[in-house]
């Protein structure tokens, strides 16, 4: 027999002024199951909570209804009070008579009072069907998987590993470093990118808690938070990393030349190559698509010159499995392809390059030794036009969003150009200058003052060839007239675009992505690091365009999340999740279809007691279920119920208003 206690709060004057609290209490006393009802000034105060605790013991209550403010406010407080009195905290129901009655019906006390009584009656009816629930604990494998070895992945891996948690860092290319390794100097301090990045790369390689898997890809991820199992493909490198010393004899002798991705195709690399001199690990791999030995079985020069005999043409792809508890996704970005801008002559004129190509050229370890040159004739350009927002903020041809970093790096490029070619002049076409960030506005000012660059506010409408040079025609919106600039070189600040394999990866991980391919965070403001799938976190440009400081910050945040997740031996979860009553389950698996978290799997159980025949039923994975109730509402046989919001509880509420 249910024994419900009702505790009505005045909330000072907040409730009492507009709801006749004593009358509400009297009304509550009339309900059959209510054995105790009392009102108090502040139920959430210590004496108020003490009243609840005392009444639970004294009146042998089986459930408690607190009529006060929104359950979103004090549900936890009162649950704790129940716990302290030795009662299961989930036997509490809160009737929201403040936000839902006294505050919104201030002109009609009678109606507000009636409504408050009804809300209490509903809460009492619901509480009768409340069951004792217990926090769910899920075991955790304390190992993190970091996907992507750019600055985001490196930072996340280091932070997690520094907390003495093992990390598996998977990088698709032969070396970690990512986009940041391609940069020359970084805004707003102009410190050398390599100088600040390489120590971190070396740390990764030597860290006892980091297992670095370069030239690898994640193939499968099964399981759920704390208990994932990842299958990782280690692509055949055809080089035995254990014996290779990275001497470089092989790539010096290799006869096959391939456009160098690291240098944006400006120069060539070999078929056996290490992407850049500071690569980590600094071991070459053979590019199977171009190696003549692998393609045609002829050549074998690298094997001949390798003193260590590290070359192994028979090497195969290898699948390794790792048990992990959490994942940080840091796959980075690609550049948006500017070819829709036909009026700029993209693809037709060699002397139009992207900003990352320019970055490689001005980089000290770049293909041109740090001096920008014109691709057409190799001359050093004097007049360089930079066009910002190529693709960004352009609904018609490009994408709607702002790529965030172009204003800053274009300012940087103007400075770098000035440093490398002293008598040069930069013309910068821009829409707005977005320089929000520490030291950013100052940096743009510095670029303008130091280099004397001409900032032209307006869009470029056409680029055409004039002799050897390019004529850039655009609008100077401030003067309101058309301007034409003769340029030796044009640099397009192309937009950031999500890494092209993001959708495939998202499907593999079971997380969502937006229309561009950026992976979706759980909440844009309050959970920007988590994904909707528990235990999977995001870092860097895989989620949205970011500069290096933001990327590093998010990576550290993701690492903190992982460390928090791994803080205990088990994960504690809210027990309000779905459960299957196998007696009624028909095994139709519709719940499996609608579950947004893949939390429902199937299992086989005997048809009857001791029967050898089996039937399929659904099974909820406690670790994954988030308690949305989608499965409950679509289950025709009502075999699934959601603890805390059971059918019985809701029906009780419906029939008692």
């Amino acid at each position: 027999m249910a024994r419900v206690g009702v505790f009505v709060c005045f909330c000072g004057a907040n409730i009492a002024d507009f709801v006749d609290v004593p009358a509400v209490t009297e009304e509550a006393k009339k309900i059959k199951e209510v054995k105790y009802a009392i009102e108090y000034k502040y139920m959430c105060s210590d004496p108020g909570q003490q009243m609840i605790r005392d009444a639970i013991v004294q009146h042998r209550l089986t459930s408690v209804v607190v009529a006060a403010c929104s359950p979103r406010m004090h549900e936890k407080t009162f649950r704790k009070a129940l716990s302290d009195a030795g009662m299961n905290p989930y036997l509490l129901e809160v009737a929201n008579i403040r936000e839902h009655s006294s505050w919104v019906h201030q002109k009609d006390k009678k109606a507000a009072t009636e409504k408050a009584s009804d809300l209490i009656r509903m809460a009492v009816a619901k509480s009768i069907a409340n069951e004792q629930l217990h926090e769910i604990s899920v075991p955790v494998t304390k190992r993190a998987l970091v996907i992507g070895g750019g600055i985001a992945g490196i930072q996340a891996a280091l932070d997690i590993a520094d907390a003495r948690i093992p990390v598996v860092l998977v990088e698709k290319s032969p070396s970690i470093g990512g986009r940041m390794a391609q940069l020359d100097e970084t805004f707003p301090t102009l410190d050398c990118s390599q100088c600040i990045l390489t120590p971190k790369m070396v740390d990764v390689a030597s860290h006892p808690f980091i297992e670095l898997l370069p030239y690898s890809e994640v193939m499968e991820l099964d399981g759920y938070v704390g208990n994932y199992k990842a299958k990782i493909k280690r692509k055949a490198s055809y080089v035995n990393f254990d014996t290779c010393t990275g001497c470089g004899a092989c790539w010096q002798k290799c006869p096959v030349k391939v456009p160098n991705e690291f240098n944006m195709g400006i120069d060539k690399r070999k078929a056996i190559y290490s992407p850049f001199p500071q690569a980590v690990p600094n071991k070459p791999v053979i590019d199977a698509e171009h190696c003549t030995m692998l393609l045609k079985g002829k050549c074998g020069i690298c094997a001949k010159v390798c003193e260590k005999g590290s070359i192994d043409y028979t090497m195969q792809d290898e699948i390794v499995e790792r048990e992990i508890g959490a994942v940080v996704v840091a796959t980075g970005y690609d550049l948006w392809d500017p070819s829709p801008y036909e009026e700029y002559g993209v693809g037709r004129y060699k002397d139009i390059i992207t900003s990352l190509e320019f970055e490689r050229m001005v980089s000290a370890n770049g293909p041109t030794g740090g001096v920008p040159v014109r691709p057409s004739d190799g001359k050093v350009p004097k007049r360089v036009v930079f066009i910002k927002c190529v693709g960004s903020r352009d609904e018609a041809k490009g994408i709607e969003y702002c790529s965030k970093i172009c204003c800053m790096y274009t300012a940087k490029h103007a400075i770098l150009l000035h440093h490398k070619v002293h008598d040069s002049h930069a013309y910068i076409f821009y829409m707005d200058i977005r320089a929000a960030g520490k030291g950013y506005e100052e940096f743009v000012k510095r670029a303008q003052v130091e280099t004397g660059a001409t900032y032209l506010r307006g869009r470029v409408s056409k680029i055409y060839k004039k002799g050897e040079n390019l004529m850039v025609r655009g609008e100077d919106a401030q003067l309101g007239q058309v301007v034409e600039v003769e340029a030796d070189l044009v640099v397009l600040a192309t937009a950031i675009y999500p890494y092209k394999d993001n959708p495939d990866l998202a499907r593999l991980l079971g997380i969502s992505y937006d229309k561009y391919g950026y992976l979706s965070e759980a909440h844009p403001k309050l959970r920007p690091v988590e994904t909707a799938k528990a235990g999977i976190y995001l870092a860097g440009c895989t989620q949205a365009p970011k500069d290096i400081p933001d990327t590093v910050a998010q990576a550290s945040a993701a690492a903190a999340k992982v460390c928090g997740l791994f803080a205990g031996d088990t994960l504690k979860k809210d027990p309000m999740i779905s459960t299957v009553n196998t007696e009624f389950c028909t095994g139709c698996q519709n719940c499996v279809t609608v579950c947004p978290y893949q939390a429902i799997v199937t299992e086989e159980i005997p048809l009857g007691h001791g029967s050898k025949e089996m039937r399929i039923v659904a099974k909820v994975n406690e670790g994954v279920c988030q308690g949305c109730g989608s499965c409950v509402a679509i289950c025709r046989s009502m075999a699934i119920d959601l603890a805390g919001f059971t059918d019985m509880q809701i029906i009780n509420e419906i029939v008692s208003i």
Binding site: K30, I31, V655
Partner: protein
Amino acid sequence: MKLTTYSTDQAGLQAFYEAIIRAHDTYGPVEKFGKFDFKKVNSLSECDPESPIPRTMSVKPLFFPKSAKVMKYTATSAGTELSDTAEDPLAGKRVILGVKHCDARGLQVLDAVYKWDYIDTDYEKRRENTILISPRCDQAATHCFCTSLDYDLETLDAVDVAVINGADRKIYLQARTEKGETFLKENATGLTSANGSAEAEMKKQYETFAASFRLKMNYQEINERMQGQFDSPTFEEVPSSCVSCNTCAFVCPTCHCFKISDEKIRDKGVRYKSYDSCNNVYFTLMAGGHNPRPVKYRRWRQRAMHKFVYYKERFGVNLCIGCGKCTTSCPVNISIFEVVTKVASSMQE
């Protein structure tokens, strides 16, 4: 027994019916969705007392409704207060037109169980206050086998007033019970007294009627044979096409199983007594989880045995009255006639 008889013609019968409808609360077979169901009528045009047997529902709901209120209650912290339901809508004095004889016979059979150890006062009152007026069947329908189950001239007292088609379009109205006698006399305006003259024609009419039957059985023999047939494997075979739909029980004039359910809203509850069926899987499910009849054939066995053995054992009368309603309504036309004859004959093999 001396039976008051009147004679009239078709027009006179219509007038008789109309007079009754004007003077009394009258129920008659009203067509809806192609089926005739007994509803309250205000004029003869609304109903058809001669409705065809296969398309007419049983009259049972007027005595044992599909759902009836047992009581109302209010549960508060002051205690639970019971209150009688509003007046029974079926308890008043009333006349039912167009009752089929099998139906009326079904009520007679049901009387045995309702007036057994505990007397169902609601049922008794409804029975007492009702006059059944019944046109006698001239022609058996496809699934009828009532003549095989104790239907003869003597048992016609299942109805209060019998309407008999005589020769030359003459129609006889004959009182078959005391209640019917009083009623007929009171309402005899316009009718010609014809005491004693109908018997011969009735006999003749019955003979042609009896000859029109497709199905015939010796139920005494079947009853005896089936008593030992509880474990007969025939039960497992015969109803294999049954879809366990319960329809047979719901349309049967003599099925009387019910369930009790409460419907409580806020602090007020109503307790109902509603039809149930032994063909329902959960009919015999017990609190501990045990179900003695989890499979179809066991439920079918129960149904057949109850209809032809158990009831007779206890009350001396066969529960099945051979109306064929279950077979007509069955979506796959399973005939209880076929089932019991097969089971009974399987012993001989």
